[in-house]
């Protein structure tokens, strides 16, 4: 199809006057609107507040316990574990 833009024979009304795929300004506005929408979507996801996880302190507990049956280790077992309160 011919690439020339004879926008004079297109009579657009309303929003089609500014956003259409026939006139050069309409095409430009469509392009700018698409870029703005993509930028808005990206910004939305970037600036979206993330859910804050509850701050939990960690403690270190040193337990002295007995080994489980069959464990080839010494009598006293030192267990260090992280616990969440």
């Amino acid at each position: 199809m011919g690439g020339h833009d004879a926008g004079t024979h297109h009579q657009f009304t309303g929003i089609a006057k500014y956003f259409n795929s026939y006139t050069i300004t309409g095409r430009r506005n469509c392009v700018l609107a698409t870029y703005a929408s993509i930028a808005a979507i990206i910004l939305f996801f970037k600036l979206k507040p993330k859910k804050q996880k509850a701050v939990k302190s960690r403690c270190i507990v040193i337990k002295l316990g007995v080994p489980e049956a069959g464990c080839p280790c010494f009598d006293l077992v030192t267990m260090v574990q992280l616990c969440k309160e």
């Binding site: 833009d5 795929s21 095409r27 469509c30 392009v31």
Partner: protein
């Protein structure tokens, strides 16, 4: 030392000095400079005639604003075609097999055309990203597709030249090796392979000239859209 078929594409250096600088400077040395005489000798006259004819043909679709690029496009064409043709000589290094060199040409020149378009006629430059008469539901998709195709242009320009020349040189080396290997064992097959090698070399001469022309032509087309 084990040599491979890709050694011919390694950028040569001697005592740490990159020799690609000499390879790039060589085309400028080979062409005689037009003198200030009114009538030059035959060689310079023919050279000037060819360059003028080519530049005239290349700039036909461009308007007056694009004619500023005449010197750049003509010199780029001569440079590329000379480098490509010199690379077909045996044991020579072809700088245009280096992607870095080709991207170094493609990216700045393409970017210049885009910036010129955005600066001088932003409405037309942006409007070109949406084909005329696109149905409404397809508008966002086509804009994204056209944007991607715009951004991929410099990559295509650089890789096209690199790949064509690299593939051609590699094929020549492979078939030449085959001829040498087959010669003592099967002379008839070696002669047939040598015929293929001869035809391939002719093809590579054409490819060398065509790829240089295509590079410059596409740049002029990108300029035509933006000027």
């Amino acid at each position: 030392m084990m040599t491979s078929f890709f050694d011919q594409f390694a950028s040569p250096s001697y005592l740490g000095i990159p020799l690609i600088a000499i390879a790039i400077a060589l085309p400028w040395v080979l062409y005689p400079t037009p003198s200030s005489r009114w009538i030059n000798n035959r060689l310079i006259t023919i050279q000037g005639w060819f360059i003028n004819r080519f530049t005239n043909q290349l700039l036909l679709p461009l308007n007056v604003g694009g004619h500023k690029w005449a010197l750049l496009l003509a010199s780029l064409m001569i440079f590329l075609i000379t480098i490509n043709m010199l690379g077909l000589l045996p044991y020579t290094f072809t700088p245009t097999t280096q992607l870095s060199l080709n991207m170094g040409f493609a990216v700045p020149l393409w970017l210049a055309t885009v910036i010129i378009g955005m600066r001088n006629q932003p409405t037309v430059a942006l409007g070109h990203l949406l084909p005329e008469g696109t149905p409404i539901p397809l508008i966002p998709v086509l804009i994204i597709i056209e944007t991607i195709s715009l951004l991929i242009r410099p990559l295509a320009l650089g890789v096209r030249l690199t790949a064509n020349l690299t593939a051609g040189h590699l094929l020549i080396q492979l078939i030449a090796t085959a001829v040498f290997v087959l010669l003592p064992m099967m002379p008839t097959v070696a002669i047939l392979t040598a015929t293929v090698l001869f035809l391939l070399t002719l093809l590579e001469v054409a490819v060398a000239m065509i790829q240089a022309y295509v590079f410059v032509l596409l740049l002029s087309l990108y300029l035509q859209e933006n000027v």
